[in-house]
């Protein structure tokens, strides 16, 4: 059963002054389902809108349009101004930076107690201890201030705070990227355990594809505010369909893979992704029509879909060969900046 | 022409401590005309000197008051010329008073001014009014041939004035200084012994006094604290001051429209508690003297009835007697040594005084201390003068330190203190007699005073008024205001002094012209 359904979610940010309101579309028409007991990884490069999406779901930003359905109910319509306690009780978030997400003036106990009390749970010592145990922390840390903890421990406290509420959905925005390399796996393992033990539904946002592959059941790839590919985590990683996904994958350093780095190939991918006009796969269609989802396979009971004209049924996939564009230059990055 | 200049051409340097900067406005009708406009540029018909009570004919050589007191005729001096060379004549006087009434009002008693001949002007009144002589005689006169052509005389700045005075030519006008040079066609050229006058602007007493004690200016009218030490002691040979107490009487006024201050016994008892000697010595730096119960300033010494002054004791400081008087009048000591009113309420009062008058605040503070000695609690309130005056005008105050009217005769003083005609009900705006005291007996005496031109009769009426004042105690007189004035004779000599009081040492009054025409530069 799907718990949180996102339909056509769009978020614009106003930029500029009162006199010249321009808008930047950070998230554009995202459809995504978060199912219980599953981890959905959201990957994409910096600025692709991942955090914005998460913040919309956490109701920290108000989406410009679209729907967020919690158990089938469009919460954006029923709770216009602010998210209700009920919503907050079901959807919780873990932030990227555990240094920033724990108020330095409070003790660990405070974070957990507030979360419990606000959602009508008794905040007795036993409950606090249980929570600490669940995230793998010693209970004597309850009296510590955040600065006395290591990054990994802090992130565990942040997770415990989210858990205290008793949520069904956990949004985790790059929960390990600020952590020290040596403790990342520990936090990933914790999340994995929570999914298995609590049956939590999780949105795991990252640009570390390796960890997405490690943790997630489902993977969605985000590019420029839109989801471009999705499906079973392994399927997406092992057989990326969208050029952007391939670009991302090729960028990950992986000594084990040893495929080497083909500059020309990557330049082609980049050009394709960043500059639709020079898309080698399509004759300008990309520029004029919005691509729709095409299913390219089925893995682990989920469809593997991609949004790229390349996979439109009318086309013969076999005819298209991945070819670098001649004029592709690294300069393309510049136009994106 | 700096300090120590004795070339003979040195300028008489006068500081204005109350003007940080000058604006070139020599319009005498403007309340804010540049200094010396009415003193050195324009001249009056006669000069009354409060220091010795004498009158000096000036633009008029003589005057006669009609016996019924309903008119006065001035005979103008011949040969007087305006500084542009045009002759001075009766029509100038007529025009001046027309302008004055139109622009600034006042002179309600004046019906008409007529030029009987080029040298004779008669002022006709709508009632017998002898005190008018000084008001009219002391008024500056402007040339008709200039002022009749000015479109808006009220707002004209008259940048290049034409007058009959000794120093009319404006030179080097700058925002902090300017010079007045000799009038080329002055009617008594022999008396233009000084080369000119220089005015300096100062942002306050402090900076002006600094310049003065440093010997950079000749003649100041600013208040100088401890003048003996800070000025005279620096050079006793040349540095002098003379503060005749001929200014307006400064009173402590109790609002007689308010109980219990309507009780003369209370007023007198409170007055007895006040240590005027200390006020004069400490608050007024020893520059004034205690008042007596005639209420008259030293400008009216010739009018004063010594027997009246000696007959009463309510202006002599005696705390014990004051306490007894209070007891006797029914203001008994209550709990904590505080006196109560007859109705049992505590006897407390506010003393209002404008914040700008720091010396008067000290006066109020001493009164407060004195009252505390007899069990009366006073609070000194010192908001801005505008707020104080507005409470005076509407009669909402308890008590306050206030000036009094100061004319050439005691007439104005007593009318302002006791005439019922000047009393306005509480809430209505009064411009004098803020203390709202009126005595019909006083009305009769005042009218009688104005109706006669005979000095003897006037003296008699004044005596009766003094008696009445001593009996009524409409206000509590404190001390006569000193006319500040200090000078150095390093560069100029011929100053008025206590021994030769031909004028006061004021450089902004009608007698100033007397000084200007008496001074001689020190040469060599």
């Amino acid at each position: 059963m799907t718990l949180l359904q996102i339909r056509g979610l769009t978020k614009d940010f106003p930029v500029g002054t009162v006199f010249s309101r321009r808008r930047v579309r950070a998230v554009n028409g995202v459809d995504l389902d978060l199912a219980p007991g599953r981890v959905t990884a959201l990957v994409g490069e910096s600025g692709s809108g991942k955090s914005t999406l998460a913040r919309c779901l956490a109701r920290l930003e108000r989406p410009t349009s679209g729907q967020i359905l919690l158990d089938g109910e469009d919460v954006l319509r029923t709770e216009r101004r602010r998210a209700s306690r009920t919503y907050r009780g079901k959807v919780q978030m873990v932030f990227q930076d555990p240094f920033g997400s724990l108020n330095p003036v409070h003790r660990v106990e405070h974070f957990l107690t507030r979360a419990l009390v606000l959602h009508g749970h008794p905040a007795d010592r036993g409950r606090l201890t249980a929570l600490m145990e669940e995230v793998g922390l010693a209970q004597d840390m309850l009296d510590s201030h955040p600065h006395e903890l290591s990054g990994g421990q802090r992130q565990r406290v942040a997770i415990a705070r989210a858990l205290a509420v008793g949520p069904d959905v956990l949004l985790a925005d790059e929960p390990t990227s600020m952590l020290d390399v040596s403790v990342r796996v520990g936090v990933l393992n914790l999340m994995r355990r929570l999914r298995d033990e609590r049956g939590l539904s999780m949105l795991y946002i990252t640009h570390d594809l390796g960890s997405a592959r490690y943790l997630a059941d489902t993977t969605a790839v985000m590019f420029a505010g839109e989801l471009v590919e999705g499906g079973d985590a392994l399927a997406v990683m092992d057989a990326p369909a969208h050029p952007y996904t391939r670009l991302l994958l090729s960028a990950v350093p992986d000594p084990a893979r040893r495929t080497g780095y083909d500059k020309a190939e990557r330049a082609g991918l980049r050009a394709a992704v960043l500059n639709p006009e020079s898309c080698p796969y399509d004759d300008g269609t990309c520029n004029t029509t919005t691509p729709v989802r095409h299913t390219v396979g089925e893995d682990g009971g989920q469809p593997h879909w991609v949004r790229c004209h390349l996979y439109a049924p009318a086309h013969e996939i076999a005819h298209r060969v991945l070819q670098p564009a001649d004029d592709a230059s690294p300069e393309a990055e510049n136009t994106a900046a | 022409a700096g300090a120590g200049d004795t070339s003979g051409n040195q300028l008489l340097t006068i500081p204005r401590e109350d003007m940080g900067t000058f604006t070139r406005n020599f319009n005498p009708f403007s309340p804010k005309a540049a200094p010396m406009t009415k003193e050195a540029v324009y001249e009056p018909l006669m000069v009354h000197n409060p220091a010795d009570g004498k009158d000096t004919p000036w633009l008029a050589t003589a005057w006669t008051q009609a016996p019924d007191g309903k008119s006065v005729t001035f005979t103008l001096r011949e040969g007087v010329k305006w500084s542009d060379g045009k002759p001075f004549a009766a029509e100038d006087v007529v025009h001046t008073f027309e302008l004055q009434k139109k622009l600034l009002g006042g002179f309600e008693y004046l019906d008409e001014v007529t030029a009987d001949s080029p040298q004779k002007v008669t002022f006709h009144f709508n009632k017998p009014f002898s005190p008018s002589l000084y008001e009219i005689g002391g008024h500056y006169i402007v040339p008709k041939h200039i002022w009749s052509k000015i479109a808006d005389p009220a707002k004209d700045t008259n940048a290049t004035p034409v007058g009959t005075g000794p120093y009319t030519q404006v030179e080097h006008f700058q925002s902090q200084s300017y010079e007045l040079r000799k009038n080329p066609s002055y009617w008594q050229p022999a008396k233009q012994r000084i080369a000119g006058i220089r005015l300096l602007a100062f942002s306050g007493n402090d900076s002006a006094n600094l310049a003065f004690t440093n010997g950079e200016v000749d003649w100041t009218q600013a208040f100088i604290p401890d003048i003996q030490k800070s000025f005279v002691a620096k050079n006793p040979k040349t540095n002098h001051y003379w503060f005749p107490t001929t200014g307006a009487m400064i009173n402590w006024q109790l609002n007689t429209a308010k109980a219990p201050f309507d009780d003369p016994a209370l007023r007198k008892a409170l007055s007895r508690a006040v240590d005027r000697a200390k006020i004069a010595k400490v608050a007024m730096n020893g520059y004034s003297v205690p008042a007596d119960c005639t209420g008259l300033s030293n400008a009216y010494d010739t009018w004063r009835d010594k027997t009246v002054a000696a007959s009463c004791d309510w202006t002599t400081h005696d705390s014990k007697a004051a306490a007894q008087a209070l007891d006797a009048a029914g203001y008994k000591l209550g709990a904590g040594g505080r006196r109560t009113q007859k109705n049992g309420k505590p006897l407390t009062l506010d003393i209002s005084v404008g914040s700008a008058s720091s010396d008067w605040i000290s006066v109020a503070n001493i009164i407060k201390q004195n009252l505390a000695e007899v069990g009366v609690t006073a609070t000194v309130k010192s908001p801005d003068w505008s707020a104080v005056v507005s409470s005076y005008e509407t009669g909402t105050f308890d008590s306050g330190i206030v000036w009094s009217n100061n004319g050439a005769t005691p007439y104005e003083f007593y009318r302002g203190a006791m005439a019922t005609t000047q009393v306005k009900p509480v809430g209505e705006k009064a411009t004098e007699n803020y203390h709202r005291f009126g005595d019909p007996k006083a009305d009769r005496l005042i009218d009688a005073f104005a109706a006669t031109t005979d000095p003897k009769t006037q003296q008699a009426r004044a005596g009766e008024l003094q008696k009445l004042f001593a009996a009524d105690a409409p206000v509590v007189p404190l001390f006569p205001g000193p006319e500040w004035g200090a000078y150095t004779d390093a560069r100029f000599t011929g100053w008025p002094t206590k021994d030769d009081p031909y004028a006061t040492l004021s450089n902004r009054s009608v007698t100033t012209v007397l000084v200007l025409t008496s001074l001689r530069p020190v040469k060599g």
Binding site: - | T23, N25, L104, G106, H172, Q176, S203, L210, A211, N214
Partner: protein, 325 residues
Amino acid sequence: MRLVLRNLGFYLIAFWASVTLNFLLPRFMPGDPVSRMFAQAQGTMQPDQIAQLQKLFGLDDRPLWRQYVDYLHSVATGDLGISISRFPTPVSEVIGSQIGWTLLLGLTALLVAALVGNLLGVLAAWRRGGILDSALPPLLIFVGSFPYFWLAMGALYLFGVTLGWFPLRHAYDVGLEPAFDAAFLGNVATHLVLPALTIVLVSIGGWMLGMRNTMIATAAEDYVTMAEAKGLSPARIMFRYAARNALLPSVTNFGMALGFMVGGALLTEVVFAYPGIGYQLLASVQALDYPLMQGIFLTITAAVLLANFVVDLIHVRLDPRVRVR
């Protein structure tokens, strides 16, 4: 450019707000200038002249909104009315004859304080632990703790009266004709020394500390370390890399300081009898001369707003980052 327009918009609104404030304030004040004048004349003015004077000064009893509209209109047309305490001189004339001196005093003091203070701050931060860094700040803080006027009076009596090194008052010697020659300008300069010095003394500590603190922060920036790694000379690193950046907050402060400067100048002008509008403002307040008071207030506000606008422009010039934003 957009930024500039936006700021301009803000400054206009701010100006309007202060104009309105300015309009309202005197109207809540008890008393009027004529009774005030009367009180100060203390018996030498005839009571019966009051009504006439009130008419003369144009104190009116029209409805408030009407007055407001007229007021806005006259402000817009630059007509500030006629001064009461200087009747009948127009307010604009009174201000015009004095604002130059205030600007001279204020700007000189501000520039000297800011320049020297910032320079000291740069040097102190650059030589951490040196004399400049350890001994000077507490000393300057101490000096800066004295009230303006107290220091001014102290300096006046010490250097002016007792030692006689500097003139005691005014912007130039009496008797001098203003001219653009060495003699006159030199005279003006000697008159400027003491008043400006006291303002500088009081305010220099703030500049120095502010600069020192930002410099210390800036010196730890990567680009400064990088400049060092590049082997650049210390002077180039200090000024071109560190100070150039640390200066930016100072520039903003400069605009703000203009307002304070006028305030500081007020007391100093009073002590030194300097013919500026600070003193004039005090005088107009004491005389309840609303038109002049309002005129001066508006002029100061406009000047400060204008200065801040200019500072904004300078800031845009100095900091390329705000140009596009």
